[in-house]
Symmetry: C2
Subunit: 151 residues, 2 copies
């Protein structure tokens, strides 16, 4: 559906304004689709993302600081997301022996099994970006990088 129809706004002030709204809207659309796909596995999107980082580290542990570094959302509260994963027995938390300020977080066998099930279900096919050709994906990456170059 065209962005004009999605938010019932027939005219945009400019191509810039339209692109801005389109970008936010499309990202939200993608995240909602993903979140819906994970829900039947009892995971939220941030929980899934952290679990995947932990699998990447496995069998080594990760610290909260490492999770934050790798997360898309730097300001989110990794500590509390780990709380939920711990309640579900998908990760363990132990004080790091080498540095007792830090906490070693590890994915459990149950966590690994769950991720395998999610992989098998092909949830990442929900991407929507598979609509784009390789060349278009490169174009998109270039444009997005350029937007953030305003920093």
């Amino acid at each position: 559906m065209r962005i004009e129809d999605e938010i019932k706004q027939p005219i945009f002030r400019s191509e810039l304004q339209k692109a801005h709204i389109n970008l936010i809207f499309t990202a939200g659309w993608l995240q909602l689709r993903q979140a819906t796909a994970f829900k039947c596995f009892g995971l939220t999107l941030p929980q899934f993302n952290i679990l995947r980082i932990l699998r990447g580290q496995h069998p080594l542990p990760a610290t909260v600081a490492l999770l934050i570094e790798r997360m898309l959302d730097k300001t989110s509260n990794a500590s509390r997301i780990v709380d939920r994963l711990e309640e579900k027995k998908l990760v363990t938390r132990t004080v790091c022996p080498a540095n007792r300020r830090a906490v070693d977080i590890r994915i459990t066998p149950a966590g690994l099994t769950l991720l395998e099930q999610i992989d098998a279900a092909g949830v990442d096919q929900v991407s929507g970006l598979s609509q784009l050709e390789e060349e278009e994906l490169r174009q998109l990456n270039h444009l997005l990088d350029k937007i953030r170059s305003a920093d």
Copy 2:
């Protein structure tokens, strides 16, 4: 900064995976910048967006249903965002006389003044999309629309 460095992940499995992450990350980056710009006016981003919709309707009222229809985030809770704006005296809520189930929501003079101040401060220059040429904006809009065509 390149997306690889932003999230400390040196290699992406594919251009598709990279574009996906880039899209989510860039949208979040934009929203955080915007939110920061509004903060000194005491508004959150959703509050600002609703206030702007109300200005667009002014002097006609809007209903909650109309707000939801025009919001980027359809599942957000317009009713509670209006609560906060009402507390700040930026909008009024009155039962719609023609249909007593509905509620007429109107922006107040104080609300209009605040939006004028925000306009004057040039907050929308924070966009980041101003980095792109007109042709690039059209390209971006096309690519984003194509992603959502997966529906």
